[in-house]
Amino acid sequence: MTTERKAPTCVDRRTTIKWLAATMVAANTGCSSSTKFLGDEIPAAPNAEKALLGVAATPSNVGYGTDPDLINPVVPWPRTMTDAQLRTAATTCDMILPADDQSPAASAVGVPDFIDEWVSAPYEQQQHDRELILGGLEWLEQQSQSHFGTTFSSANGNQAAELLDSIAYPDTAAAGNDKLIEFFRRFRYLTVGAYYSTEAGIKDIGYIGNVPISGDYPGPSTEAMAHLAGVLDELGLSLPS
């Protein structure tokens, strides 16, 4: 069973511009300290065709309904992001969760595809995130092209980091960058959530469970209890006898 929903809005460069308009007002009134990435080179009246990352397909308005098959789950809506958007997303994901000696980078376990699944879903929250995320990715690309003369995915590490730093740290980010800060926070939230629910992510973070136990639940391990004893000691607490 499916439910009809109102057609979601198509996010294009105009959305990005709306935010930028807001940030530029802030910049012009002088309340911003670092205006480097506030994009004064953006054309005054861009249109969708000029979006640097291309225009994502219009999302479907069909969800999985109120009685989906839980044993054989399917995602009924098609992905909508362009290749260029996915590339930019992959670069951003991998900056958030790069490979290290314990686990692979986010793009190696399908996180960009999950972002695409998410922003292509017909539900209100996901449509809200779609505007934020596609707009944010386009913004990263614009900034990279105008300041570094290269796409965000081929910018060098320092350049890309300089750009991300301007929106990743709310305390030091330029005033007026609120929407971009929100973009980054949300993008990181989804990247992290998607990553740690993969097999590689679960292993990295050390979730142990989802395995049947016969007999009583054993409770904390000896090491865990020893650790707790140290904690209680530090707090001057004890368990009731």
């Binding site: 839980l70 790069p98 939230y189 979730y207 142990i208 707790l228």
Partner: protein, 564 residues
Amino acid sequence: MKNERYDAVIVGSGAGGGMAAWVLASKGLRVLMLEAGRDYNPYDETPMFAAPRDAPLRGTGTPDKPFGFYDATVDGGWQVPGEPYASAPGSEFMWWRSRMLGGRTNHWARNSFRMGPYDFKPRTRDGLGVDWPIEYDDLAPWYDKTEAIVGVYGRNDGLENHPDSSPGVLHKPPAPRVSELLIQAGCHDLDIPCVPARRAILTRPIGDRSACFYATDCGRGCSIGAAFQSTTSLLPMALATGNLTIMTNAMVYEVRLDDKGKADGVNYIAKNTGKHEVASGRTVVLAASSGETARILLNSKSALFPDGAGNSSGQVGQNLMDTVGAAMRAQFPLLENRPAYNEDGAMGLHMYIPFWLYQEQARGELDFKRGYHYEFGSIGRREPGVGLGEVATFAGGYGRSLKEDMRRYYGSFLSFVCRGEMIPNAGSYCEIDPDTKDRWGIPTLRFHFKWSENELKMVRHFQETTAQIIDRLGGRLQGSVASPQQSISRGGEIIHEVGTARMGDNPDSSVTNQFGQTWDINNLFLSDGSVFASKAHKNPTLTIMALAWRSSDYLAEQLRTRAL
């Protein structure tokens, strides 16, 4: 079967309906159960071990499935397609329903606390609300029987107004997790009890139902039968007697009355054909959940009962109550980087904080009446889903340091959840909405809801106490503490709605007697939360079932002695 006249026609297959069906069928009565939802088979349909990553959006809740993709709710949630409800201007009420065999028992959290002696006599104690027509001791034997058949883990701690069960009834509670032990130690220092929770989960097998194997999310349902749901216990047991017939996709809209004003059965819509049908019975038992039962009564208008069946007191729809909800979340530096072990356990609560200030309250030292208990959320290192993104928001930044921070902070958060008693008030009730009908043409409900000062003061007390506990454990509160008005849950949000056809001693001010038998129509019984005269802070379902059993025993006896 169309023409068969049953001994009892039961409407609804959840906690109340399931219990009534089993008790009546096992006494040899011929029972027909009508359920608005579809047939549901938990043995085939429960995605026990399915990983979040295999579900759309990693299983995150959506308007189609508000509590997540795998949640055992069919065609429901805060909205049921084609079956609207409204909140009156100035009120906001949320109504969780599901349309499946077994109703909401398929996914409830299974927290099962007995009401105590004070809870049945609240007016005697503090002059507010009304007393129940029974005392704790009247229901105690049915609590024992219900716990024995349902299967409840817990421990007898001999606490004031938190009754012990009879010896041998409770299943052994699972061992506490590290974070629960930490809370317990902090509470011990603050003179607050923290004891094993009681949940309708088997830790030893009963018949075909296995003991919990501590691995799968109970909200998806439990195909091994360890977590109680009517579809793996009461309904199969009732069917095995050969005396129960279940009809699903049957949407009941009114109680039929004969010319003497007795119930004669119900009218329903067969959803598959859209046809209006009749089911006839010597008695009718409504257990469609508090809201729906009130709706059916109010929609059963006749010359004899122009305001609805059973409603000559005018109390049907009144006295709507939900549980007081609030929550605070904190991060605990001392829980960072702790040794990993399997913290799934029985998924939900192993420990909880029962209300502990009865003496202080009796001495007038508290500025609120009634009590609340604590439940805990995000207990430990649980299976990661999208929500783990919160930890990254907490940690901030990105890159390799974020990966290290994730390892460090995972499992170091805890939520403290308030579950409190609401006192009935004149501003909280439901009524038939004059303007709206559902897809079957049945008039729908409109809810009015407001909290009173008492509930807000209770939330304030919870906030202050929680701040103390967090502080004692060296925790860092997440987010700021909003005013009680802003922090308190919305009406219905805790999904413990009860009271819409309360029981009492007096036909002028109550809808049923102590057996759920309506004063107006003596062969019409109510067997769900609608009959609650007050809403203790204790989660209602165990009490719904104990009352349903007691009521069914009485009904059967009345039929046997031909009093009906």
